[in-house]
Symmetry: C2
Subunit: 136 residues, 2 copies
Amino acid sequence: MTSRPTSRGTRVRGTRQAEALGAVLADLPAFSSAQEIHAELRRRGESVGLTTVYRQLQVLSQDGGVDTIRDESGETLYRRCRTSGHHHHVTCRSCGRSVEVEGREIERWADNVAAEAGFVDVDHTEELFGRCADCT
Amino acid sequence: MTSRPTSRGTRVRGTRQAEALGAVLADLPAFSSAQEIHAELRRRGESVGLTTVYRQLQVLSQDGGVDTIRDESGETLYRRCRTSGHHHHVTCRSCGRSVEVEGREIERWADNVAAEAGFVDVDHTEELFGRCADCT
DNA sequence: GTAATTGCAAAGGATTTGCTCTGGT
DNA sequence: ACCAGAGCAAATCCTTTGCAATTAC
């Protein structure tokens, strides 16, 4: 098991490493890989094991603290979540800038299309990639 | 480089392995991993190397012959493409049944939202997952 | 004091690459 | 003979696990 938030308790958090990671995540504006985050941590002088970065990131993403997407190479990228609830992202292929967007329309569309095809209990993934109008 | 389709020629294809792979793809109704496809090949008595399966699948997906999606574990799944042009899929989490669906609305939505956020040259990925109404 | 967390080293697992062999024309 | 394609073994690379040492409360 990973780390059940123990219903009530303050369980998770409290370690130097978790703090440092949180700080980095708060600063990184673009989706970054665990390895990049780990590198940034070292750069800041904070020594945190790669394993810990992965584990922490895993927990945070489950708790909704960070969003994740997969780049075309299959690597998982993380970024602190700014809005709550279901949303998607538009990410710049060039600079990595990423904006969270809502998609009520999409959700509706997804449910309809899926229903017509005979599916229930529908869920979906949707990621947008583009280039900042003034990038590169 | 992988294998430029040599403009005119019958280039790719022609080998026993390619034929066998094509046959399997034509039969498999659900998205399958390279490994599953490889297993199915062996099951049919056709001996084809895993490497070949991967390479062939890579070419086919570039040529639009097969669609690919990634399951939550990051594994790439393949399936012969039935319709031409841009489309998405609704896949059953339980049995794997997958239906291709068009989404003009989505494309439009994607372009608009991205444009509003200041992005150009937009592209997107969208996959739907659900459960057949009468599955499991 | 005790349970949670770290983190190194090793394991895993999908996919790719190096390089030689083979089959088709 | 010539070349694209096949394939085995080894290499990659991200991510997870085993397990002992450390830390938080």
